[in-house]
């Protein structure tokens, strides 16, 4: 189980959608698989030696989602449990809630290991498991009496084998993948199964169920070169009869192909890590919205899973600050001055190629400047379709400033319209009505985008992009751009159109902290962003300065080098503040005696 989890592409294609060991019973496992909304549980049950074979059985459980129709097939007791508030918590630790778990028991998985290198994996589950309520079940609700099950009627009528089979198929396929070979034999068997009746005192009778059997589906693997074919020798006291026709039913089963479909290469040494195209995320958002902070969470999340992220960063100012802020060196390839979308399309392609060749990342995040129009970029990026997998256009908004920004800047509207995932960040700093208003505006601009609220850019990438990062939505690279300007054909407006530019200032003296804060907070909102590295007089140390309208942040610089001090101003009408800044913030020289 652990080995197949190392590579997300593998576990995704095998059909797993997440699993977890039971926290208080680590031998137990819960897992979700594709196409099934419920959760499976697996727990070791018995182990014994029978002759020369070691045999272990695992109990298999299926905890359906309460909204699933299948709840009707479970016993009423199970239905009540599923609708209880503690359902999810209990199923996570089902081995310690034995009575609860037993209501969802659907079958057994048996593993046999023979000394001559034979392994048999079996699914043993009844076609249907039925229980009869001899006296019936009724309820008193809102003062009225309601019959839930007639006396002698069916309380449970569970198609166990059908429920268990999808899990078994994925498990067998995972084994085939891990062993690098398909099973060499398959056998189906049947034996008698019982139906049970109970009344309020407990179970009162068991009778042969003539209509339904207990079925076993057995797969055998042989590992030694001259090993004999698995024989599936009977090992328990039940009488099994072979079902020769059953084999045909499983011709299309996943376990016959040990190569994971979709894997580009077979299992030779150089490509055992499945070579997939790097997933491209376009990260947009206005200046200061919190893209860098979000990125640091994203990088670390991936690094913890041994996933490699390459970031292509673009800084409209002359200096690339963010690489330093991130403090990590996860292949940051900075693109030169200018906006990715307007002037350096060719460079972007080249940069991506370079990165892919040197590092073969799992993710490439193109962090565009706050002024980039992603629609413009997307059509160009469609050239890279054979080299990259487009995953998402993610837009990050500043809850504090976005509403005003949206009124003034078309580019912000365009960024939202083209995104599939939208983060409203810094919600801890904004008032609730402000956030609500923003959500409404977003919905108008983009009814299909998924909106998430965050603080500090902290959100699990899996919440945004799905377990195994397969994403809730894929974006077509050549989707029509949703720009608000009419009359354009292909290239949408660039930032020059909006009158925004950047200017850099190099301080020559130390800076007073209070004076700097006062100066920045007093700037007009046309100055969208100021950031840089300054030396503060109070400790003669280097500090990172970040400013958006209404907010100034100063944090100690963590780098070990001594870079040149600078402040980059981004916005409109920058000449005026730039003329004043030196006098306003720098330490005064001592007056001549």
């Amino acid at each position: 189980m652990m080995r197949i989890n190392f590579i997300p592409g593998v576990r995704q294609r095998l059909g797993w959608r997440g699993m977890r060991a039971c926290p208080q019973a680590p031998m137990g496992l819960t897992a979700r698989i594709e196409d099934r909304t419920g959760i499976y549980g697996l727990y070791p049950s018995t182990e014994q030696r029978v002759g020369r074979e070691g045999v272990a059985t695992f109990s298999l459980f299926y905890f359906p989602e309460p909204e699933d129709d299948i709840i009707n097939a479970y016993s009423l007791a199970a239905g009540f449990a599923a609708y209880d508030a503690s359902y999810l918590d209990r199923l996570r630790d089902f081995p310690i809630h034995t009575e609860f778990a037993q209501l969802f028991h659907i079958g057994e998985i048996e593993v046999r290991l023979a000394p001559d290198d034979q392994l048999t994996l079996s699914l043993i589950a009844p076609q249907r498991d039925r229980t009869i309520a001899v006296e019936g079940i009724s309820a008193r609700l809102h003062g009225t009496h309601q019959t839930l099950v007639e006396p002698g009627g069916l309380d449970q009528d569970l198609p166990c084998h059908d429920l268990a089979y999808p899990f078994f198929e994925i498990l067998a396929a995972s084994l085939a993948y891990a062993f690098e070979q398909a099973p060499t034999a398959l056998q189906c068997e049947q034996t008698d199964h019982v139906k049970r009746g109970f009344d309020t005192t407990g179970e009162v009778w068991q009778k042969l169920d003539p209509e339904h059997t207990l079925d076993a589906l057995r797969l055998g693997w042989t590992f030694s070169a001259n090993g004999s074919h698995p024989t599936f020798a009977p090992i328990d006291p039940r009488e099994w009869s072979r079902d020769s026709n059953a084999a045909a039913r499983y011709e299309q089963a996943k376990w016959w192909n040990p190569m994971v479909p979709g894997a580009r290469h077979s299992m030779d040494k150089s490509t055992m890590g499945i070579e997939e195209k790097p997933k491209l995320i376009l990260l947009t958002g206005f200046l200061g919205a919190g893209k860098t902070t979000y990125l640091s969470h994203f990088i670390e999340h991936q690094a913890a899973r041994n996933q490699f992220v390459a970031i292509i960063q673009n800084e409209i100012g002359e200096k690339g600050l963010d690489a330093r802020l991130l403090g990590q060196h996860y292949a940051v390839e900075e693109i030169d001055e200018g906006c990715v979308c307007c002037t350096l399309i060719d460079n972007l392609t080249a940069a991506i190629d370079l990165i892919c060749q040197s590092y073969q990342p799992d993710f490439i995040v193109v962090e565009t400047t706050g002024l980039a129009n992603p629609a413009n970029l997307l059509s160009e990026l469609s050239e890279l379709e054979d080299r990259l997998e487009f995953s998402s256009v993610t837009c990050i908004l500043d809850a504090l400033n976005a509403n005003t920004g949206l009124e003034t800047y078309d580019i912000m509207r365009d960024q939202i319209a083209v995104a599939d995932t939208i983060l409203i960040n810094k919600v801890d700093l904004a008032a609730a009505p402000q956030v609500e208003a923003l959500k409404q505006t977003i919905h108008h601009l983009n009814p299909f985008g998924r909106v998430h609220l965050t603080t500090d850019g902290d959100i699990s990438p899996r919440t945004l992009y799905g377990v195994n990062f397969e994403g809730p939505q894929k974006i077509a690279a050549s989707a029509p751009c949703g720009c608000s300007h009419d009359g354009h054909e292909h290239h949408c407006a660039t930032h020059h159109h909006y009158g925004i530019s950047s200017k850099i200032w190099h301080p020559s003296r130390q800076i007073q902290k209070e004076a700097l804060e006062a100066f920045l907070l007093a700037l007009p909102p046309t100055v969208l962003r100021v950031k840089g590295l300054v030396r503060l007089a109070q400790d003669d140390g280097l500090w990172v300065c970040q400013h958006v309208p209404n907010s100034v942040q100063l944090t100690r610089y963590r780098g070990t080098d001594t870079p040149v001090e600078f402040l980059v101003f981004i916005g409109e009408d920058l000449e005026e503040p730039l003329a004043r800044v030196d006098d306003a913030v720098s330490v005064r020289l001592a007056a001549p005696a």
Partner: protein
């Protein structure tokens, strides 16, 4: 008999507003439909591992490598996480043929004669034959134990990776002298990974006779390396499960598969008098959940309290089916540690989140190439007890 109504509608109606307890249901019986699923006993074993007075951990090095981009790039280019670590041509096993085309046999042949007495010569060869040599660092920690009667004992956890870097670190912390004077009674190797194990000759250079504990699960190359590095002392292969070493100090081997073709991780449990259980991990590949639950189920420890934790932390080897549960910050809260010293695999953003969440994280000084004070960095120390 067919069900004449939709149960879901009933159940939904019954549970919203009214609450299950208020529905008077008659005739309902909770039973096991199939052969009773057998749930083996989950009683706590409460094994006594003894107690000690205190354990003082010195971080000799936690910077396993210096540039993550370089390491991940190497892994990707060589073929991914299932590739055998000995094939990379990473130091010290190089044959000059480039990334991914190495082997243990060819690599060791070039340097064996210099191990462990002339590591400088070995390293000069390694610089020629291996890839990404400067990126190698290593993980190692010194445990200073004080027993209840005042006796002081020392143990070394792991021996890092780069001969050059680890020797520098050993000298910086005085480990070389301690080893020469035989003050360190044993080297405990947490797992066969390159950044914890391949620096073995550095320890053996100063004390080739030292007792070594390795977990069950080492591959052939790993076991051979012990001999080839010039080990003359006792080798103890610890079986899966609990292994007591001295009163209050035990290791536990988790049979888990790990990336880069490694198997098995050994983690340390210390039982500190009047305080509780302290764990010291290399990487904790088995996950903090399994680690803490194992402690809970198997061991008896002071005040039934999880006192402290030191080392790299992963939550679990799996990705949960509910993304909310993948949060290490939430998971760690469940165990209520009194003192946390994290480094290395934990992740900087995560470590900072612990601090922001108000967890009792012991800060470091970010020296000697360690990156951030959120980590207990190279040269930093922490005392439990």
């Amino acid at each position: 008999m067919n069900k004449s109504f939709d149960r879901r509608t009933f159940l939904k109606g019954a549970t919203t507003g009214v609450g299950l307890g208020l529905v008077g249901v008659m005739g309902l019986y909770s039973y096991s439909p199939l052969r009773k699923a057998h749930f083996p006993n989950v009683d706590r074993k409460m094994t006594d591992i003894g107690t000690l007075k205190s354990v003082h951990v010195t971080n000799i090095s936690e910077t396993s490598w210096f540039e993550n981009a370089v390491l991940m790039g190497d892994i990707k280019k060589a073929g991914g996480l299932l590739v055998n670590q000995y094939d990379y041509n990473w130091p010290p096993f190089g044959n000059g043929k480039g990334l991914g085309k190495g082997s243990y046999e060819e690599g060791i042949a070039k340097i064996k004669q210099y191990l462990p007495h002339d590591l400088e010569k070995a390293w000069s060869i390694i610089e020629q034959e291996c890839v990404s040599v400067d990126n190698a660092g290593g993980f190692a920690a010194l445990l200073d134990i004080e027993e209840l009667d005042g006796t002081k004992r020392k143990f070394l956890l792991d021996s890092g990776w780069s001969y050059k870097w680890m020797d520098e670190c050993f000298k910086r912390e005085g480990i070389d002298a301690m080893l020469r004077n035989k003050e360190i009674e044993a080297l405990i190797i947490s797992h066969e990974h390159f950044d914890h194990y391949w620096g073995l000759p550095v320890t053996l250079k100063y004390d080739p006779d030292i007792t070594i504990y390795i977990p069950e699960g080492f591959y052939e190359e790993g076991k051979q390396y012990i001999k080839d590095s010039g080990h003359t002392g006792k080798l103890i292969e610890v079986k899966n499960g609990l292994n007591k070493i001295i009163p209050g100090l035990a290791t536990y081997v988790f049979p888990v598969p790990i990336i880069c073709r490694v198997f098995g991780e050994q983690s340390i449990y210390c039982n500190v008098k009047d305080k509780g259980l302290v764990s010291v991990t290399g990487c904790c590949h088995q996950g903090i959940i399994q680690f803490a639950e194992t402690a809970y189920n198997e061991l008896k420890y002071e005040n039934d309290n999880f006192y402290g934790i030191y080392g790299g932390l992963h939550i679990s080897p799996f990705d949960d089916w509910d993304p909310k549960y993948d949060d290490l910050v939430i998971s760690l809260r469940n165990y209520d540690f009194d003192v946390i010293g994290c480094n290395h695999c934990t992740g900087l953003v995560c470590a900072n989140k612990f601090i922001q969440a108000g967890y009792p994280v012991v800060r470091g000084t970010a020296q000697h190439r360690s990156k951030d004070t959120a980590y207990l960095g190279n040269g930093d120390t922490i005392t439990f007890g």
